[in-house]
Symmetry: C2
Subunit: 392 residues, 2 copies
């Protein structure tokens, strides 16, 4: 039998992180490689109560097929939460998705023709690279720095390559942990305003700020151009796979068609349990607990890095989220560091998968959300030993 596969599937990189994670299944390895929220913070008792109450009160209603748009009352809850933050997004403009990842797939489906240009951050979120690769877009990476995306290069890229989509994670970016400053956001907004481009603002970590002040969403600055992605995975639990897209009416119409064709609708039972949980509990108090824990763990990681890493290794200092980014001296391959680190039982994700068409990069991602402060110190000390040997 000959090759039967589509051209598009051969363009998609297999998840590098999944391969990395296999190495870390060994329980003696301290892993900064994952991207998991801390399970100790999952509201287990509250989810138990919400599930039992829901099945008792709504019974078979929550077991049947449901609507492609998602459960109305959950969309209204999301709309109301945006309103509290001063953002005006109607429930009609919210589509419930199977996590943010599906939001990316639906956007690829509805927007991208083969060869269309997509602006992406460098380093950028691997899941977005995978999702858009399926639709055979051409990526134009623009570097991010501590205060946001490189405005000069963004301007040049946009004029040289009229793009249909720009993808960004302005709050506590995955993988780098950096955030766009207010000024940087305004400059991006100015560049995009009036152009025929959609800015995909992926915001899974926005609520997890432990330092500094909230910055304005692109949805506030350029609502017509912005598609906003959100998720309950990082603030409640991930296993239900419940996220959402917020977009203007004409985009929403197309997204709903794509959603129908993709999976009819998102797991309805999970939507109802999440809503029950949100109604019966104080989500702000819960998020505060996550912020405190992640803030503590981030501080442990930053101070251990200062103590144990050679000075030539640069690091970001995130104000929220789950990740921190290391830049090694030029020419040092993070992949080589990884191989040595595994021998000392510590793991991370080498930067490679976060770039389009670059390998053996000198950057790496560290996750601090899923490991406690003590373990973080031990792991960073081990990694420091490796780096000192290699940097010399």
């Amino acid at each position: 039998m000959g090759n039967i596969f589509s051209d598009r599937i051969s363009d998609v990189p297999r998840s590098f992180i999944r391969e990395i994670l296999k190495v870390t299944l060994d329980e003696s390895v301290i892993s900064f490689a994952g991207g998991l929220p801390n399970r100790d913070l999952f509201p287990l008792e509250e989810i138990k109560a919400a599930t039992a109450k829901l099945l008792e009160e709504s019974g078979k209603d929550v077991l049947q097929y449901s609507s492609s748009e998602g459960y109305r009352e959950l969309r209204e809850w999301i709309s109301a939460r945006y309103r509290k933050k001063g953002m005006s997004i109607d429930a009609d403009n919210i589509l419930i998705t199977a996590g943010s990842q599906q939001g990316l797939d639906l956007l690829g489906k509805t927007i991208l023709n083969e060869g269309d240009s997509v602006v992406i951050e460098e380093p950028g979120y691997l899941g977005a690279i995978q999702a858009f690769s399926i639709y055979r877009s051409r990526f134009h990476p623009v570097p991010v720095h501590e205060d946001g995306i490189d405005i000069g290069l963004l301007g040049r890229t946009l004029s040289e390559h009229p793009a249909k989509l720009m993808y960004c994670v302005p709050n506590f970016q995955n993988p780098s942990g950096i955030s766009y400053s207010t000024e940087n956001r305004k400059q991006v907004a100015e560049l995009l305003q009036g152009k025929n481009i959609l800015l995909v603002e992926d915001d899974p970590y926005g609520e997890l700020r432990f330092l500094g002040q909230d910055k304005p969403s692109f949805h506030t600055l350029i609502p017509h151009n912005t598609v906003l992605l959100g998720s309950f995975s990082k603030i409640v639990i991930p296993s239900f796979r419940i996220g959402w897209i917020a977009a203007r009416h004409e985009v929403m119409e197309k997204l709903i068609i794509a959603k129908q064709a993709s999976d009819l609708h998102t797991n309805y039972f999970g939507q109802r349990v999440i809503l029950q949980y949100l109604k019966d509990n104080n989500i702000d108090e819960h998020i505060e607990k996550i912020r405190e824990a992640y803030g503590r763990q981030r501080d442990a990681m930053v101070s251990a890095i200062r103590e144990y890493f050679p000075a030539a290794a640069q690091y970001t200092e995130p104000e929220g989220g789950m990740f921190l980014w290391i830049t090694l001296p030029e020419g040092l391959s993070a992949m080589e560091v990884f191989k040595k680190a595994i021998e000392l039982k510590v793991a991370f994700v080498p930067g490679d998968p976060f770039y389009v068409n670059r390998t053996n990069v000198n950057t790496l991602r560290l996750n601090y959300s899923s490991v406690d402060a003590g373990t973080i110190r031990t792991g960073i000390r081990r990694l420091g030993e490796v780096l000192k040997t290699m940097i010399g």
Copy 2:
């Protein structure tokens, strides 16, 4: 702002059924339009027990992110069930999906280039037409009759249009309710064997047989060519959106990449609840209840049709599943019948959306799974009145 949408999304028909269903929200309308399983048969108490037990015993384990392939033990359960039916499908060859609909999307992603030929039944399942339309395939519809697909036309179609995919629902087809005879399956298998084509055998209703004998799966006849889709939606509950694809290794590898890019993984909590339910209950006894109920409702519909419909209206006599198909005299538009039927407070789905590029067809789909026998008689009587007026 100019048009920003992809060409592919403009090719996909908006779900006609969704529009139809809006008309039937009026509770005084007897609806044969939906495609829902009967909620009276949902195992609510058992799901309650399974959920509580799972959260008690596995706790936070079931709230975290999980693997793209799906929960291993659930895949093993599915594999074992196939083995009981004499089919050899390893758990490694099973991918858990967000319902069968996602299986179709993943197959489109991994197999279809723009312009690739897809053989589809006529009438065919609307969800498949939508899913493959996204990938801009060319459809080649082949008619189905009471005993299966038209073999002569299938042979001619395959030689004129080398297709990469053939999609079929050989058991109690949606929309027609017909099943492929064993002989017909063997003829199809012979035509496909050795060709570079995948047969997508969609089997959501296979377990719901209330008459006759089980027929061999294409997976038994031509395993190398067959991709088998299954679902818990019709035999347990639909709201969790848990289905699966079974395929050979090299296809599976590509499907997993597509799955990662599409939504990372299927709702893990739902997978675990379903498995807990399957472990603690006798699924065969439960399926027997569904079979009996649907068989009774099907009998009520067939006998009411014999009593109330004019002789010129032909009908299929399904041996299982949820649907029955009416063929009106040539030239009579089912869409026109629908408009009159709604006035008499009875609804169905006109055949139009089940054809590629045909409208005002003289066929229609009736669902008997979600309405009790007494209501079926009343609804069919009303529809008979409409038909008698229009056929004269």
